[in-house]
Subunit: 257 residues, 2 copies
DNA sequence: TGAACGATATAACTCAGACAATTTCATGTT
DNA sequence: AACATGAAATTGTCTGAGTTATATCGTTCA
């Protein structure tokens, strides 16, 4: 049967953007359905044979997808019971994939402000730590990212990547493995926010000076200044976002890249 | 042939304590090998057929285990290349499982102090938020946990669970989904620290008053006091830990590799 | 000389179908 | 009423085969 072939081909075509395998695409699809509320906590997913039948994939592939979701705390499966969606409190909200699935559609305001809340708590402290611990190499990386933001505008993909890289390098420079693992969360927020701002209000404050201030403080090994500058940076970012947000505009599908 | 049966039986017996399936136990075993440094970033795991042969399990089970590890950022697998251990910066350090695997053996001092560093950043702020947002139900839960710590001593499992529950309830009361998802990390640190302290120094300061102070501040809806009390609490906990740690107390401050 | 292109080998990936293990639930027994 | 027993449903595990992606290397062409 050429059935499976065409199936796999279609699935792969759909997921080519990140070279996901079949199980990966299934996990993403189900994951999005869950975090978007289409499946609610407590719901029981269809049985393996049933579900894999509908998706026209083998049970193996479907099961591996479920393993992925379970590993991220989204579901839990038991014999005789089935696979049930876990309560939101068990979800690994800071998992890069979970976060990207959340941002696949426009996340609700509460979640977004929660994420900013966390950023305002962690990033200033991370900057302060970075001011004390940064190596020259890390400093150089941050400077390059800053230049990247300047040359390419934030309207371009390259510019946004530079922005993310700046924040990412800052977290790495904090020298704290756990803070580093928050990078993806910050990155998602940064990128999504920037895209959103760009769409709503193309002409806005130049973000370079704010970043420059943080950089200077870190370079000068001044923790307090770094803390203040970073807090200011994040607060302004949030302000721009919430100000420009209008009720229920449609979502951008490319929240991540 | 009773070969597989005995195998599955043995594996399950080994993991009965948490009703892990076969793939779960394999994932845990491999995960521990990775986070403990037995497999280093860049290393390529044995091929599926080879590895599953050695472990005497089916390729299916082994593959599902690898999917779990991949979902947690520990490994990445590609055709023609194999499954390679990812650089530490990609690991999901705050994933409950990863964390528990790290704490399976005595974690190194740097990591432990990093975790406390994050706690000192997040938990006080969480307490401050909780002071503003807590519901009466949440307050009640915290009070119950406090009583639990008092009646059962911290030497007992019940007491330690109560301690965890107190911190967990505090994070939940912060009303921030992302902060809530840090619960497991805090819990791991709390429980491990307590056990360790208990082992090293059975007679130590009574922790109840410190917790009581935090609770009172949250009950009184006083964010600043809650922040201060929680910071004090975490700092004392860390102090006890590092003080009682004896042999290889090298540098706790330099977080460089 | 070197750069683009194509074959090849190798690993993960996907499939299919069978059987085993676990847990819930209903039933019957003491 | 409490407890043991068994049946049913669902995930879990196994086997073995074929498929697909990709790094490597050799070939051809500029």
């Amino acid at each position: 049967m050429s059935n499976k072939k065409s199936l796999a081909a279609r699935a792969n075509a759909k997921a080519r953007r990140k070279s996901l395998r079949l199980h990966g695409t299934i996990a993403r699809d189900l994951g999005v359905l869950i975090v978007s509320g289409r499946y609610k906590p407590g719901d029981i997913l269809n049985g393996e044979i049933d579900a894999s039948d509908r998706l026209q994939v083998s049970r193996t592939a479907y099961r591996e997808a479920v393993r992925i979701l379970a590993a991220k705390g989204l579901v839990e499966s038991r014999p005789k019971v089935g696979t049930r969606v876990s309560p939101q409190a068990r979800w690994h909200m800071l998992d890069p994939d979970v976060l990207s699935w959340i941002f696949e559609f426009e996340p609700d305001d509460t979640l977004l402000s929660n994420l900013f809340e966390l950023r305002k708590i962690v990033e200033p402290e991370a900057a302060a730590l970075a001011a004390m611990r940064r190596t020259d190499e890390e400093l150089e990386i941050m400077e390059k990212a800053l230049q990247g933001m300047a040359t390419h505008t934030l309207a371009s993909e390259a510019g946004r990547l530079a922005d993310q890289e700046f924040h990412s390098a800052m977290l790495r420079a904090s020298g704290n493995a756990f803070i580093v693992s928050l990078t993806s969360g910050v990155g998602a927020a940064v990128s999504w926010t920037t895209i959103y701002k760009q769409r709503q209000n193309p002409l806005r404050r130049d973000p370079i000076p704010d970043h420059q201030k943080v950089f200077e403080a870190v370079k000068a090994s001044d923790p307090k200044a770094a803390h203040a500058a970073m807090l200011n940076l994040v607060e302004l970012a949030q302000l721009d976002t919430t100000n420009s947000r209008k009720p229920r505009t449609k979502a951008a599908s490319s929240a991540r890249s």
